[in-house]
C-alpha cells in the first residue's frame, strides 16, 4: 500500500527511511520524494502485511504518516473528457465501458502530470 511521509525541515537530513527499512526488514519502494522550504514529502510503497508496523516505526521517528486518499476527482467539476488518461504514466486513470472516468487510487504516484492538463481543474491531490 501507499503511504506518504512528511518531515519537518529539521528532520530532512536524518536517515529515517533507511532506519525503518533496517529495523523492520521491509522492502520499501520510494515512488516520489521532494524536499522544499517547508520540509520533506516522500511517497512510499510498503508491503501490506508489514504496513502497520512500518507506520508505527515512522511515527516513532518523528515523521508524519498519511494513509488513505492520495488523489481525488471532483465529480461536480469533471466532464469526463479523459484527457488525464493519456497523461497518467501508471494507468491509474482509465475509461469505464460507458466512458465514465475510473480511478485506481492505489496506482497513483502523485506525479502531478494530469493536474495542469485538466480543463475543468477537477483533479485534486491530497495534501497539496
Amino acid at each position: 500500500m501507499k503511504v506518504e511521509l512528511r518531515f519537518s525541515t529539521e528532520r530532512v537530513s536524518e536517515p529515517i527511511i533507511s532506519s525503518v527499512i533496517l529495523q523492520e526488514k521491509a522492502q520499501i519502494n520510494i515512488l516520489r520524494a521532494q524536499v522544499s522550504e517547508d520540509g520533506g514529502r516522500v511517497l512510499l510503497e510498503v508491503p501490506d502485511n508489514q504496513a502497520d508496523e512500518i507506520i508505527k516505526a515512522f511515527r516513532k521517528l518523528g515523521a508524519e504518516v498519511i494513509v488513505g486518499k492520495i488523489i481525488e476527482i471532483i465529480e461536480d467539476k469533471c466532464i469526463e473528457c479523459g484527457h488525464c488518461i493519456t497523461l497518467c504514466p501508471v494507468n491509474a486513470i482509465f475509461f469505464e465501458k460507458d466512458y465514465s472516468i475510473g480511478l485506481d487510487e492505489q496506482k497513483c504516484i502523485q506525479c502531478d502530470s494530469c493536474l495542469d492538463a485538466c480543463p475543468t481543474r477537477a483533479i485534486k491531490l491530497y495534501g497539496e
Partner: protein, 526 residues
Amino acid sequence: MEYLRHKNINVRKIHNKLQQKRNLQLENIRTIEEINEKIRKGDVNVVTAEEMVELVREKGSTIAAKDVDVVTTGTFGAMCSSGAFLNFGHSDPPIKMENLTLNGVNTYHGNAAVDCYLGVTKMHPEKPFEYGGGHVLEDLVSGKEIELEAAGYGTDCYPRKYLKTIITLQDLNQAILCNPRNAYQRYATATNGRDEIIYTYMGKLLPNFGNATFSGSGSLSPLSKDPNYETIGIGTRIFLGGSIGYVIGEGTQHSPTNKFGTIMVKGDLGKMRPEFLKGAAFTRYGTSLYVGLGIPIPILNEGLAKKTGVSDEDLKTNVLDYGIARRDRPVLKETNYAELKSGKIVIDNKEVSVTPLSSIKKAREIAKILKEWIEKTQFFLTAPVDRLPVDTIVKPMKVVSRIPFVNEIMENVVTCNLNDNIDVLAKKIIDNNVNHIAVIDDNDKLLGIITSFDITKAIATGKKGLEEIMTRNVITVYPEESVDICATKLEKYNISALPVVDRSNKLKGIITSEKISSLLGRIGLR
C-alpha cells in the same frame, strides 16, 4: 469493338440503376409537419445517432428509414468561439459603460450604453489560464453573484462615470448565448513530435508522440450526420446548453467542401444548465467554454437514414503534428473515430494513448435528453427557413509582410567527426569565422555541438576528446518552422545557435542568434 460496345451498355445500365436508387433514396417519405403531428400524438419514433448506426447495420437503411422519424445527435466540447450578449438595464443616473468587467474579466462593450458581449476566451488578468469569460458564463448560469465594475467618460445624457454592483442572471434583461462557430463537423487529432511538452488548445501534448487528443463525438456528431445540411439550416431548433437554442446561420470558418462545416447558434442563457456549459482552462493556452449541443435530424428520406447511420469507422480524420506551429500542420496519418474511441492509435510504429478532449459520455447524454424531450412532447422540429452554404472554403489570412521560415534563412554549418582533434576544430572556427561546429556521423546525423567557448575550456582544462567536450542534448529546429520559434527557443534555453535537422536527425544547416538579430533589426526598420 463489339465487346466494348456491349460493355458500354452495361456500364450505362448500372449507372441508370444507381441513379434510380439514389433518386429513390432522396424521395421524401415523410414531412416535418407529419413528424410534429406524431410528436403531438405521442407516437413518434426517435432513436439516438448511436442507436441508428446499429439499426442501419442490422436492418439496412430502407427499413430504418421506414421505422425511424427522428435521429438525435449530441456533442460536448470546448468551443472557443462562444460568448454571450448581456443587457444590464440602466442605473440612475445612467452610465455609458466604456470599461466593463464581470468578476474581473473584460467584456466587449462597443455597442450601446449598457450592452456587452462577453467572450469565453477573455482571461482574468490576475488569474490567467485559470479563470475567464467561460467561467463567468458558468457562474451566471449556476445562479452565482457576479461583480460588475464599469467606468464611463460621462456624457450629457449618461453622466455617471463609475459603477460597481453585484448582479445575478435574474437581474439581466437579456442574456443570450450567441456562438459564432460551434459544432465542428469533425476535427483533427493532435499529437506532438517535438522533444518537449507543449500546451495547446488541444490540451497537454507529451514529447515524441507521447499522447494524442481528439475532439468531436464521431457517430454522434450533429453535422456529420447531415453532411449536406439538408435538414440543418437557419432556424433549426436545437439542444443548446441544456435548453432550447437555434441555428442562426453557418458558423465562421464554415468549410463544407472538405467536411469541416460549422454553425452559428443562439439560445437563452437564463434557461440553460451548468452541467452543459462548463468553463474550461487550458494551461498556457487560455480559457474556453464547454458547450453541450444536440440537433434532431428528421428522417425525411432513405438518404438521411443512410447518412445518420454512418458509423465511427466511416468518419475519417487526420492525425496532425501540433509540434510544428504552422497554419498547415504536417499530417502524420489518417484515422477514424472508431480507432480514436478505442483509446490507442499507432504513430511512427508506436502505440499512443489517445482520448477525446470533448466528452463522449456527455454527448451521449445530450442525444438521450433530446430524444426524451421529443418523446414527451416538449420539443418540436423546425424546417430551416434557409439552407447553409455547401460550396464555400476557408481562406487563409492575407498577410502583406511575411515572417521567414528556417529553410529560407538557415546558413551552412561547419561540421566535424567525433575523431577530429581539437586543433583542427580551432582552425575551422578561425578559418570560417564561426562560433559553432556540429559533430556528425557518417550519415550526416547530428551527434552534438561544440562552441568556441567549449574549445577554449578544453584547452584550459587539458581535455582532448570531442566526446568529452561536446553538448549532446542539442536543441534543434526543423526546416519548416518559423523564425518566431527560433527566437523563443534561443531565449528559453539561453543558447546562441540552433542546428537545423530533418525528421531523421540529419543535419541541414544552422540558425544563429546573430542571424535572427540582424533579421529582426531589418524588419524593425521597415
